[in-house]
Symmetry: C2
Subunit: 147 residues, 2 copies
Amino acid sequence: MPAAMEQATHLLKDNNLKITKQRKAMLEYLVDTASKRYIDVTSIDDFMRQSFPKMSHNTIYRNISEFADLGIVERQIQGDRASVKFQCDFQHEHHHHFICSNCGKVIELKDCPLSDEITSQLAGCEVTGHLFQIYGLCPECANLKNN
Amino acid sequence: MPAAMEQATHLLKDNNLKITKQRKAMLEYLVDTASKRYIDVTSIDDFMRQSFPKMSHNTIYRNISEFADLGIVERQIQGDRASVKFQCDFQHEHHHHFICSNCGKVIELKDCPLSDEITSQLAGCEVTGHLFQIYGLCPECANLKNN
DNA sequence: GCCTCACTAGTAATAATTACTATTTAAATG
DNA sequence: CATTTAAATAGTAATTATTACTAGTGAGGC
């Protein structure tokens, strides 16, 4: 079992969630397809229901929600589609991403732009989070477009 | 007529779009309520249809789209709701925002975190845009919460 | 004031997501 | 290993947000 699966199932157990066939199948699919790119929720729904015709929307959406709550996947709207990506690494240090707007692929960035200079402009505010992302075409998609 | 309305109607005319009662009413509402905060699209829909019971969803959504295309409003997903904000200033220089996750209010930031150091990590990529936003509670909402 | 084309109302369809409930199953326990 | 039980699931239906379609209307140029 790949490390990512280990970590994910561990997290489920720690939270009294059962390792069902459905969850396992979903996690495997996500590790395979959404480890380095965002994939939209409806195509997860489509795929799972093709592979397991008896699976209900409910199950898929609920599980995605739970995975997100546990930090197993990261939710985000790409373009106008609700998407998720498998968490890069559970013990990974804070970082940001370049995201290909064509294929959803992500590239990790080293820097975090949050600085004292910036937060000092926010006197009285309670800062809870931030988002920094660069968009564009990854080398592969840029090539395809220019040829 | 406030400057923002002037600019917006000018932009519409320049693009062969007519200044209809419906558009005017929507713009007025947006200038009033969405100049310094994000407001979600469904509540625009609700409000407009309360004020003008004969207005159709179609009209509201189409106009929001057109306003967005012209840069009159800025679209964004806040939490999980499609939201818009009136454009800060049409000739305003590039900047980013702190956004209150409770009330949607925005505070402008001076800095842009995009640097050569960062883009140099993206060899081969075609960068088309970026997003930098800080989230949290504005001073008012932070106060409310702590009392 | 008239004409034309963009715009709108009204209705209906679609897509994505959530709700509900009877049944099933993972996994804890004896 | 058999029993038990809370959690999860399937199946169906509802809801919510958004878009499509078409006949009729009105803004604004002439």
